[in-house]
Symmetry: D2
Subunit: 436 residues, 4 copies
């Protein structure tokens, strides 16, 4: 390990912070990351990466949970108003916001993919001065979304890693693909990128997450096991509205159907064969106080340690949703809008991260594999690579957090960004250093 | 009864239809009836009525359920864009959208008030061709609101009545006040009009509703008894959002608090001393599927035959809302956003309507007093007038309906509009005919 | 009115109290009133009444809500152990516990029926000294039942009335039938008595209830209107029990199905056309804490102002029960176990009670007809008599109460018993006094 | 390994089956195992074991979830009627039904404890002929309880093991304690046995469970990890009963409070740090259909991978129960009636079982440690022994099952009993074979 190189990387700490804060300020939800993608493309092109985007890297029929046309349009126009180049935007129109940068080295060698998710969540960021992004003026300028899962940091690492790798080009062999994935939230994006062939021929895929199970800056979990499988479903209830006092008996109350579904979904979340999660994250019903609500919408998700647990939970969810609708003479339409399989890091890949971490001067704690206890559709990419004989690792990038993930005051220690870049770089150097 | 006059009125059927359809097409929600009010004002001024509006006829501190500033602004701007005169709009700014027209006759006599409610409901009107407003192209042009309670018809009757009375000016004594009330839906408007003194000195107040208990055109219910008392409440739940898989135990689930509140509100609606109603018309919670919802909103209402029943229901609602919040460590803020007392038509006033109805050639069925089985804040005006020794009547204007009130395909038989105008006119002629 | 007679009746106040307390002490539930019936029979026979009982006065196929054989057996054996004559018991075996006493007068005249309900409720009576029956040692000696609806008082009035009428035999014409009805609670008994022909040929049927809407001793409500129609249903849920930790996903949770049914039944109780009631009075599920409950039972009832409201509520109840079961893959068996129609007192019969009340020196307040706001299957007898051209009245016998009906500390003022006897007697004297 | 000994053991297969079926036929619930204990004592005494029982081996103040006096009395009398010796019964009076047999060998050596749980569950066993215990006439003769968790098998193994060890007495050193524990269901018994000092000085404690994660006869799981921690709670709701139609507003509905608590307990069962379970196994409310239920009872349990998860779940359960009660103006009394810690088998002890299993000719599959995914209060004994420096193992005894544990048709393959006896015997022989 050449420590001068490490020091060199450290000096770029400011750049990482600025990148992250820019992504944070212009948080965009899944499939709407037009401005974010543009920023990534500019930086990668500047560093000599070959760019693939749009339908080249996303299989249209496999995309899940794409927002309504008007929502896509809103963000498309915002990006245009923010000065994103029109011809570029055209390639992403309809929400094809993935970016894959490729750097091919002269000498043959392994194909390494690194994945960064780039989308924000819906919800309103805290605006009080106790929340650093607000205090330091980089809070989301979009009231309806914000980065409260660290993807702004992931994207920043990806961009900086591109710059570093470009500088080290002469020392490397094989090929590196940097995959900037939209719509991780809701597990909507990875499947369609895999289906587009982006992982074909990859020998090793890597990814990381900030602050999951690792809550100190300088701590690395060398690989996650048991990334949970998950399924995301939307339910639309259509009943019959009526005057709440004159004729409640003529209504078919979609609001009550949705409440009953919610309570009973939560009551149906246990399985004897392993860990599960169930959440109803959005419920929206009715338009008028004195009207029996004729319409309701509910967004739910289930997760489990195994595919068969998730299958069970889906069956139960469907039973509960249908019976709740029937109870009120209401119709329900159920749509799968996101999904991801379970995955576990490959032991060999975990070892690579262990060594790469140990070689970072600012890494203080190197921890062994532990359970992820959540989902990430990086699992789809891991499985795809593992199936074709390659290795996969998803590691934990430690950071203190100011709030739980998805909280309104979520923030992380930006010092972790340099560490993350460092670990990826060291790993790639180990795997793809030119044989002399 | 001069039948030539009646025939005369009949010839104005088309005008009534056109008025109603115009109001229908430009449906505006409570406190946002800027364009509707403007249309009424123009017509009344043209017919020589003295107009009072804005804060002259609405007591600001007594208004309830006023929408957020941005909602008010949206409708204000729409009205401006539709060409409503700026100086007039200025008088209504902030949602002061009531209009009171006064016609004072030369000879002293009784003061008679007639009340028309003019607001639409939130909700989206059906757009299929089986729905006449859609088929005949007068469906609401505002996606978020529509007239599905007949107030467009009430307003049309009021405008036409103004025209007729103006023509009969020389035959009348005393004073007539036509009160065009905003925000009846949610029982938000009447109290503030009463508090502004608009009913002071009134000897008789009248009003009507289309299609309540009377479902045939040509049918009149001469007065409603037992208009229910009601209270409208909003509940805002503030919990703590968190990642639904990594840390559900760190969240405070406002969505579950709101669902539990809803189920238990409905379970707490019975009273041994009389009829009750309870509805949760809107529930909206959460912003992100994979986040424990930190925020929820619920709009509820209770109704009862007596003030003490409504008091009981309010107490129960507060208990249920507070305990549901506490169950999840969530804060709840409860606001009263609408209210109206119970009322019953005065027997003497019922007799006036009976005679006025019998004198209409197109009235075929004259029915006795029956229970209203719902609320209308005309009750506040009725009570105010009855308290000062006057009489009050709220009568039923029969019409076939294509759907229950507040349904998405609500429509009525426009022939009833002429009948309604007729009944009011006959009643006023009986009460205020110049003594010769 | 012969006041010496009234004074005479007053002297029997003690007897009424003793009778009531005896019935109270040996409270028996519906269809199990073996000892109660025996006591009534003894008294009536002693006073010269002709007795009909058992299947003579109950149509077996029309009985509803008959307890399980072992429950019937338990009370049968208790009565036997308490010394009830075996041959008499044999006639009532299987729960045929109605008693009809007939007194035929020599001269022809009207046939008058008076109905007294005699059953107690399940539940445990309060035993603290603040509860008079406990303090004065006449609380129910049966832990599982007690008289908390006043039927002990009704039965006492009936027995005393029998004695009085017997003494006045020479002054009367026509025929009097005293109907002592089992199983009013749950509306299980009256239909089968009507079906047995007990009301055939009756010109006037009367009944009364203690303390309903009338809360002062000395107050009489001359007739109830709007006795609600009702339906009683039992639901048995059969799911699949399983180990709650090892295999919750293999269970079909009947306890959750029953809870969901309960919450949603309460949420489905409103109707735009009139007053309703809905109650789930018993819910019993599961046998073992660490087992997913495979069985659940629920006892519910609905009530409404009209037959069509009750039909609606039954339909809704079935929908809710079935969908709740389906939601958990549970079977549900729904049984109708009680029912009664709506009824209203006949105006002519109300007038009789008004005069009879006015003639009682200890009646201080004679109130006009008011709504009953509850059910009583006396309605079935009223309807039967009204249909055959006769008259019917169900009146209110005022009394202070120490708790609401069906409360654990329910008690009434025993002075009302004499008043009740008095009113019935006066009414019969008016209707059946021998024409001289 | 001396195979002649193994063959010898095999010949005792019939005895094991008979023992098991006798325990099955006379299933007794926790703290009521009077007859079961008697049977065990007789057998052990016959084989020369020293017996300790009653308060000698149970610390009274630490017992949890002891049934009501009348329930204890019922089973006590049943046992007496079945011929259990009165002087023995006297020692167990009040539910002190644990039995500890000790065999001290002449030569010093290790102290080994083996634990067998002996209680049955509440619930009614299936009686159709497809259920082998019914078909072969050894189904529970007690309608209210049955062995559907295999404790009848565990107890049989213990008795047979006692007989075998007694025969091998001359070959062994140290001391063996066989602990027959009451009230494992509900985790009520182990703590009080530990507190009585029964595990003091123990170097190795062993136990097994039939059919958990191991579903083939001949399969052994050499040790369970992650036996879940658990807490059992009872909640008693006291509201106010009232007439459901006349005065529902005067009631405080304990049934609705309990239903709401149930739904929301299930909705509060997730934790981000590991597996959880929550069950409401019993809900019982109300006594009368037409009465608002004034009383309700609910039996619940929570489980989790760690003590802190269980603490969280207890806090949430208390919040939910209290808020549900408050919602209806109902009081709630919450009692902890069972508890057990988490535990994991000691690696050294697992190795002993691995070798003992491998040496059994009828063991075909020897599996490594796996998660237990449930609770067993053997964990309290394991922890106690591990704390004092000893080792502990809880292993899986494979068997096909005819239903899930706690199902109404649960049964196992009795061939596993001989295998279980064998494994324990081999383990003890390894640990305590006399050094020659």
């Amino acid at each position: 390990m050449d420590t001068s190189r490490t020091r060199d990387i450290e000096s770029h700490s400011v750049r990482l912070r600025d990148l992250r804060r820019d992504f944070h300020r212009f948080a965009e939800p899944g499939w709407c990351e037009f401005r974010t993608a543009n920023k990534i493309i500019s930086a990668l092109q500047g560093a000599g990466w070959k760019i693939a985007l749009g339908r080249q890297v996303i299989s249209p029929s496999v995309r899940m949970g794409v927002p309504a046309a008007e929502e896509l349009q809103k963000w498309f126009e915002r990006a245009a108003a923010d000065g994103v180049d029109t011809s570029l935007l055209a390639k992403m129109e309809g929400g094809y916001t993935a970016v894959v940068g490729t750097l091919q080295f002269s000498q043959p060698g392994p194909t390494i993919a690194v994945r960064f998710d780039i989308d924000a969540n819906y919800g309103t960021e805290a605006c009080h001065s106790g929340h650093r992004p607000a205090h330091e003026q980089f809070a989301s300028s979009h009231r309806e979304t914000h980065h409260n899962c660290g993807h702004d940091g992931h994207a920043a690492i990806g961009v900086e890693l591109a710059r570093q790798l470009s500088e080290l080009r002469s020392e490397l062999c094989g090929e590196v693909r940097l995959i900037f994935q939209p719509a991780e939230e809701g597990l909507r994006g990875a499947k369609s990128i895999v289906a587009a062939g982006v992982l074909d021929g990859v020998d090793m895929v890597m990814g990381c997450h900030i602050g999951v199970q690792a809550l100190q800056t300088g701590e690395i979990i060398c690989g996650y096991a048991n990334i949970l499988a998950s399924l995301k479903i939307d339910a639309n209830f259509s009943g019959k509205s009526t005057h709440a006092a004159l004729s409640p008996h003529l209504g078919h109350n979609a609001l009550l159907a949705a409440c009953t579904a919610t309570m009973n979904l939560y009551a149906s979340s246990q399985h004897g064969e392993g860990e599960t999660r169930l959440n109803v994250g959005i419920l929206s019903a009715g338009t008028s106080r004195n009207t029996v609500a004729g319409q309701a919408f509910l967004a739910a998700e289930v997760r489990g340690e195994t595919a068969s647990i998730v299958e069970y939970l889906e069956t139960r969810a469907n039973e509960v949703l249908r019976a709740s609708a029937e109870m009120y003479g209401v119709r329900v339409e159920i749509n799968r809008v996101g999904a991801s399989c379970a995955a576990t890091s490959s032991p060999e890949a975990v070892s690579v991260i262990r060594r790469a971490s140990a070689a970072c001067p600012n890494v203080r704690i190197v921890r062994d594999v532990c359970d992820f206890r959540a989902c990430d559709d990086v699992a789809e990419m891991m499985n795809a690579v593992q199936k074709q004989g390659g290795k996969a690792v998803y590691f934990g990038l430690g950071s203190e957090l100011s709030d739980a993930h998805h909280g309104t005051t979520f923030d992380f220690n930006e010092d972790c960004l340099l560490i993350g870049t460092n670990v990826f770089l060291n790993a790639i150097l180990e795997l793809a250093a030119k044989r002399q």
